[in-house]
């Protein structure tokens, strides 16, 4: 277990040493969304009865920030060591592929949670709100971050350049998080787009997470949690299989 623990600790230290960029900067960016959107749209949107728009936005923004940062943590760490060659330092020791997986995913979860906590605390100060079900909130936060951490590993394994990884981030992760109901309830969409939204796994992460806050959601939290956990499980199996096969790491 020392190997796994060390790799996890190294991954934490890696983002912690540049926390201005890895934690503070996403927190500030997300707060800007909150300030701008809540100000511009507050008068026009009332999604759930009794929930102000600013408060409605907070769980979505927190989750969005968590997902993006969990992804970016494992992905950027791995692509940097792959491109720079320092990946040999973890390929030469007797680390098992599941230790590799667990350390990277766990570090992604920690980074996601740290950013999420930062966004939430400052959002709370901006628009105080009660938390209906902290347990659900935590469950969705953990499952969402872990799934994106695994997806980050897969993407960085696949990418042969920084450019290709940036393409995944900008053309897959960003649109899926933005279009998952962060800024609106999908019930406000036309039926066709509602249907499309149901195909987006990120929708269930945000909807379930929001249930933890307000106790209301578009979909039953049990359904959402099963889908999110299923996604995490599938991504984990895929990642483990890629790592075991040595895909693009041990040619």
């Amino acid at each position: 277990m020392t190997g796994l623990w060390t790799l996890f600790y190294k991954e934490i230290l890696r983002f912690w040493k540049v926390s201005l960029q890895t934690i503070l900067s996403p927190v500030v960016t997300t707060l800007l969304y909150l300030l701008i959107f809540s100000h511009v749209l507050a008068a026009h949107v009332q999604v759930y009865p009794g929930v102000g728009y600013a408060a409605f936005l907070i769980p979505g923004l927190v989750m969005m920030a968590m997902l993006q940062n969990a992804f970016s943590n494992s992905a950027s760490s791995l692509i940097q060591s792959k491109m720079g060659g320092s990946i040999v330092f973890i390929l030469l020791p007797p680390l098992a592929y599941w230790e590799f997986f667990s350390a990277y995913v766990a570090a992604s979860v920690v980074r996601g949670m740290a950013v999420g906590l930062g966004v939430w605390l400052s959002g709370y100060w901006f628009a105080p709100h009660a938390i209906a079900h902290p347990g659900w909130m935590l469950a969705f936060a953990l499952a969402g971050c872990a799934a994106l951490g695994a997806l980050g590993i897969i993407s960085a394994l696949w990418a042969d350049s920084y450019d290709q990884l940036a393409a995944v981030q900008n053309f897959v992760i960003m649109p899926l998080t933005f279009l998952s109901g962060v800024f609106y309830s999908i019930h406000s969409l036309p039926p066709f787009w509602q249907g499309v939204s149901h195909l987006n796994p990120f929708f269930y992460m945000i909807d379930g997470f929001r249930y933890g806050f307000f106790g209301v959601s578009d979909i039953s939290p049990w359904t959402s949690l099963s889908i999110v956990s299923g996604a995490f499980l599938a991504l984990s199996l895929a990642t483990l299989w890629l790592l075991k096969s040595g895909y693009k790491l041990r040619s």
Partner: protein, 290 residues
Amino acid sequence: MHKRFGSLHALRGVDLAVEQGEFFALLGPNGAGKTTLINILAGLSRATSGSSAVMGHDVVAAYRETRRALGVVPQELVYDAFFTVREMLRFQSGYFGLKRNDEWIDELLHNLGLEDRANSYTRNLSGGMKRRVLVAQALVHRPPVIVLDEPTAGVDVELRQSLWSFIKRLNRDGHTIMLTTHYLEEAETLCSRVAMLKQGEIVALDTTRNLLGAHAATEVRLKLVPSQLPEGLRAMLVGEEDGCFRLALRHYGELEAVLAGLRVAGVEVRDMEVTKPDLEDVFLQIMEAA
């Protein structure tokens, strides 16, 4: 063992055994396949066919045992920009399951002249310093088998000597050493056995002594007055340039006979130089012939 990269056949049936406790050199021109072979042993790459084992463990099936047994200094000058030298060495120890290793880390830093760089970020070190860190990283877990892929490229004279005396000490303590280098005099003085690789094939595999003996003779260069070689010595002549005769000697004893022959013929020696063959000559000969 065979290794193909697409259409490129990088290793063509390499069959090699290095004994425990040996100081072994893997030599060959650029692109011969040395690093490819090392990468397969280290599990960084997979053989297309064939297998390899370290300390009796198969490198694919028992990868945890073989990686624990191996310490590899990679050829590429890689480093992790986020961390200091000491942090890197602690992490590396942890990956090998060692929780507290500072005593040995300090000894490594001392032996590699890195003591005052322990808290520097690796990205700020000079090339030679980065190379030393790579050597230290390879040794954190005191591996019984140490593989050094051009460890002295870009390293200054002083460290080269202290590095080799440190590696020799490890070898005396029972560690098996395998190294690649393009400085053949290093291989000649350090290694008891040598394999030479050319385009993925082993073209020579023998003790350093045998290779030196079989492929190149000791020579004596003579400048004579008058510049004429007595008839009796013609059989030993291997070359003639700039008015110098080059005679091959099977052993030093023959030098006596040469001088006697010259004295009898009344030829005076103006200049004389005895050259011992070195591994570089042998290497060039073998590469040319193969």
